[in-house]
């Protein structure tokens, strides 16, 4: 692990993102902590409604106008981003933190060539470069994301490219200013499986080349297993379990993590029936009073409905928020 003296690249502490006010206040993100070390990938797993996308928007300073950061700190290399004015945040976005999204087509302007769009991204942070220099840098970026014959593809329009190629262009744009942190929000969900693995490989290779850190948000445990060093599992606005990838995939403690791992059919197993998590994720305006997973939990006891468990250590940095963990006997 890294030297304990140097602060981590990103440290999120007790972050809350609220919508509405008074009795109608809902918390999409409710007291989340997260640590991302330089050069590492932190995977965030959650289903819809878990608050994982809102967390990433909060880190980017892009919480929608109807919501706000109610409390907490977002420290990037020691500097708190949570209270920064929009202007200063804008300078950090793109330069120190970049983001890629699920659907590359909506983030690209269909009317301009990708070369032009890349040039804009380059120029935004380097105003003195000449047109020729910028074009060369755009081509170089396309080469770095392994787009074949970049000299020709630089003049393509987005619609002339496949989904995988467009996601490569988005990655090239994100890389254009050498960010220290890349937030990837479901970047492969819209892609075909054979293309997905290529993009995941590319992201890892680029990480090795540049030493950037990544936050990788996804609903797919298989994808997390392929890219992440550390993993946090989110449920209904909270982190229910966090640890190294090995902790999570081989020694999961929280019943929700266990449920997610178990309910996914696998090629190397022949199960007659899939284990399931009953019920559905509660909406943010109707959360259970105690542990948020309690109504769906196979191990729940009356205690679980009474109070909300905090994260407890299970060796090293492995934390889980469950009264019943480690599960040894069957609840009655």
């Amino acid at each position: 692990m890294t030297d304990p003296k140097t602060p981590p690249l990103l440290q999120v502490e007790d972050l809350r993102v609220s919508f509405g006010a008074g009795a109608h206040e809902t918390r999409a993100v409710d007291g989340i902590g997260l640590t991302v070390e330089r050069g590492r990938t932190h995977g965030i797993v959650g289903e819809s409604g878990s608050g994982k996308s809102m967390l990433s928007l909060a880190i980017m300073g892009l919480v929608p106008d109807s919501g706000r950061i109610a409390s907490g700190r977002i420290r990037l290399g020691g500097r708190d981003l949570a209270g920064l004015p929009y202007r200063e945040m804008q300078a950090i976005r793109g330069k120190r933190i970049a983001m890629i999204f699920q659907e590359p087509m909506t983030s690209l302007n269909p009317l301009y060539t990708i070369g032009r769009q890349l040039s804009e991204a380059i120029r935004a942070h380097d105003r003195r470069a000449s047109a020729r220099e910028i074009r060369n840098r755009a081509i170089e970026l396309l080469r770095r994301v392994r787009i074949p014959s970049p000299e020709r593809r630089v003049d393509d329009y987005p619609h002339q490219m496949s989904g995988g190629m467009r996601q490569r262009v988005m990655i090239a744009m994100a890389l254009s200013c050498g960010p220290e942190l890349l937030i990837a929000d479901e970047p492969t969900t819209a892609l075909d499986v054979t293309v997905q693995v290529q993009i995941l490989d590319l992201l890892r290779e680029l990480q090795d080349e540049t030493g950037m850190a990544m936050i990788f948000i996804t609903h797919d445990l298989g994808v997390v297993a392929a890219v992440a060093d550390e993993v946090s599992v989110m449920y209904a606005g909270r982190v229910v379990e966090t640890g190294t990838a090995r902790n999570i995939f081989e020694d999961a403690q929280h019943p929700y993590t266990l449920g997610l791992l178990g309910s996914r059919p696998r090629l190397d197993r022949n199960l007659h029936r899939l284990p399931t998590i009953e019920g559905a994720v509660p909406p943010p305006f109707d959360l259970p009073p105690g542990c948020r997973f309690e109504p769906r939990c196979a191990f729940a006891t009356p205690d679980c409905a009474a109070a909300c468990p905090g994260l407890r250590p299970f060796g090293g940095n492995h934390l889980a928020a469950c009264f019943r963990a480690p599960v040894k006997e069957i609840a009655r």
């Binding site: 289903e47 693995v197 609903h219 090995r246 998590i277 559905a280 069957i330």
Partner: protein, 352 residues
């Protein structure tokens, strides 16, 4: 003589694609389904996998005659239904139904859940008002919903519940065949398992046959008896599920299997696929997979291979099907279950 429940023979369907702003002729032709033959037996689940643009959704619609084929024959229970008109198809629709990928888009927002589930019964003139209402509540409980849900509208439900409504609707007329077009891919992971289990229970209970279309290999392997792999409109490999996974005889199937990311904490060994999916507008000459294929030879560049029988109904459209190197099948049983797996076992026990 016994018939296949559903049989497609050399079915082809193409679409005219208009070229950008210039309207009218001059657009390219996409052969979405290209000379496909397959059969589905009673009580069986045939999985159909492929990536986007492979024509699997078009094939689903051809199988139900929601689209007409340009060439080929479609038989249902031995009857040729290729040239049946919309109105002569209608009585048959009682026996074949469909479940859609996006349950929110496939349910009319202006109807209540009760009306939606009752509609197939009305259309096929089954029962009277009272008996239909009784059937609706029976169907609701069959798919794990409650009676009082009947008066609500689809938007008041979660994605998983909407898919249950879609399933109840498809089951209303007691069909034999259900074509499922990516029924779980729009759902959250924990909900997917619920729906897959429900569909399996219904199949055992009601003797249904499924044509199950998905891009998720793991789901298809779990649910299907036989699997067909499609690529750019053509079937590349078809066979019993176990055989196909243990001994895939087409490089594309191998690519797909290698692309499945398993949450076992272990990284994949090597990058399984090269290159991008070609556009369906420009299907490569010869074998359509050859530009991405590690085993491609000159023959593959020239000649489009036909499906060849490899025994037990296992067929592959690869010139080198027989000579492909054997690969280690995914380790079926690992020695020791991880602590997480033991805890999962406890969770399953606690549930039951």
């Amino acid at each position: 003589m016994s018939h296949h429940l559903l049989e497609l023979e050399n079915v082809t369907r193409q679409f005219q694609v208009s070229a950008g702003l210039s309207r009218g002729r001059g657009g390219a032709v996409v052969r979405a389904v290209d000379n496909v033959s397959l059969t589905l037996e009673k009580g069986e689940t045939l999985g159909l996998v492929g990536e986007s643009g492979c024509g699997k959704s078009t094939l689903a619609r051809l199988a139900l005659k929601l689209l007409d084929p340009d060439a080929g024959t479609i038989r249902y229970n031995g009857q040729d239904i290729t040239d049946r008109s919309r109105s002569t198809m209608r009585p048959l629709r009682r026996r074949m139904q469909m479940i859609f990928q996006d349950p929110s888009a496939s349910l009319n927002p202006r109807m209540t859940v009760g009306e939606l589930i009752e509609e197939p019964l009305i259309v096929h003139e089954i029962g009277n008002r009272a008996s239909r209402r009784a059937r609706v509540s029976e169907l609701l409980s069959l798919v794990g919903l409650s009676d009082y849900h009947a008066s609500r509208q689809p938007h008041q439900f979660s994605g998983g519940q909407r898919q249950r409504i879609g399933i109840a609707r498809a089951l209303a007329v007691n069909p034999e065949l259900i074509v499922c077009d990516e029924p779980v891919s729009a759902l959250d992971v924990s909900i997917q398992a619920q729906i897959v289990n429900l569909m399996q229970d219904l199949q055992t209970g009601l003797g249904l046959s499924y044509l199950f279309i998905a891009h998720d290999l793991a789901v298809v392997k779990h649910i299907a008896d036989r699997i067909a792999v499609m690529y750019l409109g053509k079937i590349m490999e078809i066979g019993p599920a176990d055989r196909l996974f243990e001994n895939p005889r087409h490089p594309y199937t191998r690519t797909l299997i290698a692309s499945v990311l398993s949450p076992d904490g272990k990284r994949r060994q090597a990058a399984p696929a090269t290159g991008d999916l070609p556009s369906p507008l420009a299907v490569p000459e010869g074998c359509r997979f050859h530009p991405r294929c590690p085993h491609a030879t000159d023959l593959c560049r020239r000649l489009d291979p036909a499906l060849q029988e490899l025994g037990e109904g296992h067929q592959s459209a690869c010139h080198h099907a027989a000579s492909l190197p054997t690969i280690a099948p995914p380790e079926a049983k690992r020695q020791q279950p991880t602590p997480a797996e033991r805890r999962m076992g406890l969770a399953i026990q606690a549930r039951s």
